[in-house]
Symmetry: C2
Subunit: 96 residues, 2 copies
Amino acid sequence: MNLVYEALAHPTRRQIIALLRQGDRPAGEIATHFDIAKPTLSGHLRVLREAGLVIGERHGTSIVYSLQLSLLEESLAALLDLFKIDSAKPPEPDRS
Amino acid sequence: MNLVYEALAHPTRRQIIALLRQGDRPAGEIATHFDIAKPTLSGHLRVLREAGLVIGERHGTSIVYSLQLSLLEESLAALLDLFKIDSAKPPEPDRS
DNA sequence: TCCCTTATTAGGCAACAAGCGAATTATATC
DNA sequence: GATATAATTCGCTTGTTGCCTAATAAGGGA
C-alpha cells in the first residue's frame, strides 16, 4: 500500500491517472501531453505499474496503458479507513 | 493540494494521522509511539502542518497536535474526483 | 532569576527521486 | 536479414528527503 501513496505523491503521475481515466492510451501518446523526456515518463509509468495502479499491455510495437480501477478503489477505502470519516462516531475518546 | 499528497507519502506520517484520529496529543507523546529521534518526528509534524493536515496549539510547555478534518475531507474529495469512481459512467469511451 | 521540561531549528551526511541523452529491447514490415 | 518504430533500460547529474546530534527557543515553577 505504501507504493500507492508514493506513486500518488508526484503531480505528473496524478495527471497520468487523470488522463487514463478518459481511456486507455499508448505510452507515446501519454508522452505528448507532458513536456518531459520519454525516459522520464517511462519511469513514472514504471512507478505506477509497480504500485499496481496501471497495467501496460503490448499491442504491436505500442504498449497500451490502462487504469486498474480495483486497486484504486482499495486505495480509497484504505484512505477512508485512515481518516475514519465514514464510520460511526467522531474520534474523541476522552481529552480532559 | 500537492503538499497533502507528499505528506501522505511517508508511512510514519500516516501513522501519526491514525494516532491523532484517536484524540489530540502533544508532540512528545506522539514521539513515544515511534522509534525515531524527536527532531525527526518534529520534521514530520512540520510537513503535516505545512500541508494543513494538522495544527499544533501550545498548551503550557507542550504543543498539542490535532487533525484538521476539513482538509482531510477535501483531500478525499479530490482523490475521488481524480478517480471518478463516484460519478456516473465508467470511463470507457471506445477501445476496440 | 535560574533551572527544568518540551519542542523546534540548525548543520551535516547518506540515501533516494527526478530528470536527461545514449544505448538496448521488442515488434512489425519489407 | 535489414530497417523502422515504440518503449524501456542504462549511466549520470542534480536536487530533495530522512535521519541524526547539538544548539536554541518558549514556558512553568522554585
